[in-house]
């Protein structure tokens, strides 16, 4: 029922209003004396080196792809885990999921052996 979600709506409104105040108040009332140091992007207290928009190492891409591949397979384990207690016979359900995970592990071993996990 929509009425059940009223607290969430309330929470969302409060969050938006509070953060709007936090952003707007200094902008409206604070003193503004910009210097080049103040305008530089904040980089954990370090001096920024070069522009922020630059090419990333191809290594990130490889990791991202590997992550997605293994991550998405979880989609099959969730429904299985939810109904696991009701499966009959249970050992068969376990065995089937084990075969699935085993094949995934084989893929992981392959990536490892081929050096896909080395940061070089």
């Amino acid at each position: 029922m929509p009425a059940d979600y009223l607290p969430i709506l309330f929470f969302a409104v409060v969050a938006v209003v509070l953060s709007a105040i936090a952003v707007l108040m200094p902008a409206l009332f604070g003193p503004k004396r910009p210097t080049s140091v103040k305008l530089a992007p904040y980089e954990s207290g370090k001096l920024p080196i070069g522009p922020a928009r630059r090419r990333f190492s191809i290594q990130y891409y490889l990791y991202a792809v590997l992550f997605i591949l293994f991550d998405v397979e979880i989609v099959f384990l969730f429904p299985w885990a939810v109904v696991f207690r009701d499966l009959a016979p249970r050992w068969l359900g376990l065995a089937e999921a084990a075969v699935f995970v085993l094949i995934l592990l084989l893929g992981l071993a392959y990536v490892w052996k081929k050096g896909g996990l080395e940061w070089e």
Binding site: V83, D86, L87, A88, P89, L92, G93, E96, I103, L106, A109, Y110, K113, K114
Partner: protein
């Protein structure tokens, strides 16, 4: 609540499982053996393919078992398994030396080849929209990588990109079509769709749109006009052994699923899809042949020729009767030998010194008969069979599909097919003339041809002669397979 797990009769999909396990085995063996022993992976793969072939033959007792509305091991699937496994086995034989020469990573190569083979077999066995989609993606994704596996060659990466973009595009159409059909029929099982179509009376527009989108999706995979534009680029850019495999395997698998969907699930709507397939068939053969006439590169020529052959084979499907279906099956079986064989000769020719076109141009074949009489005879057989010259397998295959089209009332389509065959003879014979009548350049020294490739070529050549002279057993098998699909 208790959910009792279904029991599986794994014997039903034993050939597919054997191929998949072999693929994983190749991967594991590749991890543990040294660089100089990689050549042995091919033999592991070959043993797996042969075992799967033997199992397919052994399973074929007419009982047509099925795995939970998902996969069936009926005569139709098992017959197509044989054609697919022939293509895989020939491709492995042709790759023995080629992979080393071009520098393809052998572990990945054979693993992906086997995975793709498994996808094709699953597609032939699939009796559910879900399994059709999964099988298609298993075979396609493996093929995308195989096409781009030659990392030293920019053309290979380019072909892979083109194949991937258009293949994924086609998958989208196919999936959307499936979603619409699911909505109208209320089930993803082909048997359920068949029942819904039979009960439904006048089909809803969305159902027909769904079928149309699925035909478009399969049309991409088997290269029907107007979904064929990727074919020449991909066939040319891919490593030649991959082209030999995919030109046969992907086509067989695509026709397998298209046949099952059209003839079985939508069998009662023949009046709605037959004319579409007939028009596509006529267009496909004509466009393929006319474009093939202009090609100087043999790989491109064979790509256009393979488009034309998709058109001929589709005529059997458009006929919509049992003769047409068994004709289509025989066609695909014969095509596996003659087309893969033709690409094998290109692989061999690429090794000749002075083969400036990488063994891919007509000039590289000039005077081949004097230097390599065996290869030249085999190439001539493949070309003549593709052209449809009696008494070779290609002739009978065309005879069956066009005969079925006439019986199905599509006389105009048969006339189209015959005229097209005559046109196609020109470019096939040009290769033969080049081999036998022209002088080769003196620099073109033949290199020794790998024994595995020789065996593969010899097998393919013998097969097309035998199929042409003594087609009885295979035609009988194809007839049984067609009946398994259409139901007595």
């Amino acid at each position: 609540m208790e959910i009792s797990l279904p029991t599986f009769d794994f014997l039903v999909v034993a050939p597919e499982i054997v191929v998949l396990i072999t693929a994983l085995l190749v991967m594991v063996v590749d991890m543990v053996i040294g660089r100089e022993q990689k050549g042995r992976l091919a033999w592991v793969a070959l043993v797996g393919v042969l075992a799967a072939g033997a199992l397919s033959y052994y399973l074929w007792d007419g009982s047509d078992p099925a795995l939970h509305d998902m996969l069936a091991a009926d005569g139709y699937a098992l017959f197509l398994n044989l054609a697919i496994l022939v293509a895989a086995a020939l491709a492995i034989l042709f790759s023995l030396e080629y992979t080393g020469r071009v520098g393809l990573a052998q572990g990945e190569y054979y693993t992906l080849l086997l995975l793709s083979t498994a996808g094709m077999m699953l597609m032939a066995a699939a009796i559910n929209l879900m399994t059709i989609f999964l099988a298609l993606e298993i075979l396609s994704i493996s093929l995308y990588v195989l096409v781009g596996l030659n990392r030293a060659e920019r053309r290979s990466a380019e072909a892979a990109l083109k194949y991937f973009v258009l293949g994924a595009f086609a998958s989208g159409f196919l999936l959307y079509g499936m979603a619409l059909i699911y909505g109208q029929a209320g089930t993803t099982s082909l048997a359920g769709i068949r029942a819904a179509v039979q009960a439904g009376g006048e089909p809803s527009a969305l159902l027909l749109v769904g079928l149309g989108l699925m035909i478009a999706g399969f049309g991409f995979k088997v290269a029907l006009v107007p979904f064929q534009m990727w074919t020449p680029d991909v066939y040319q850019g891919a490593p030649t052994s991959v082209t030999a495999f995919m030109s046969v395997g992907a086509k067989v698998a695509g026709f397998a699923a298209l046949g099952r969907v059209a003839l079985y699930a939508f069998g009662d709507l023949q009046g709605d899809w037959r004319w579409v397939l007939a028009v596509l068939s006529a267009l496909t053969m004509t466009v393929g042949n006319l474009a093939a006439l202009r090609q100087a590169n043999l790989k491109r020529m064979l790509a256009y020729s393979s488009i034309a052959h998709a058109g001929y084979a589709l005529a059997g499907l458009a006929a919509g009767n049992a003769q047409g279906t068994s004709g289509l099956l025989f066609y695909l079986f014969a095509y596996a030998f003659m087309n893969a064989g033709a690409f094998a000769i290109i692989i061999a020719a690429g090794r000749f010194e002075g083969a400036t076109g990488g063994g891919e141009t007509l000039d590289d074949f000039a005077g081949l008969a004097a230097r390599k009489p065996g290869l030249a005879v085999a190439m001539a057989l493949f070309m003549l069979s593709l052209a449809g010259v009696p008494p070779l397998a290609g002739f009978l295959a065309k005879l069956y599909v066009f005969g079925a089209a006439v019986r199905g009332g599509l006389i105009w389509l048969a006339v189209f097919g015959v005229v097209n065959s005559v046109i196609s003879a020109y470019y096939y014979l040009r290769v033969v003339v080049s081999m036998y009548m022209r002088e080769g350049r003196p620099a073109a020294v033949p290199a020794p041809v790998c024994a595995g490739l020789q065996v593969g070529v010899a097998l393919a050549a013998v097969a097309i002669v035998l199929l042409g002279l003594w087609p009885g057993p295979i035609v009988d098998l194809a007839r049984v397979a067609a009946l398994a699909l259409l139901g007595g």
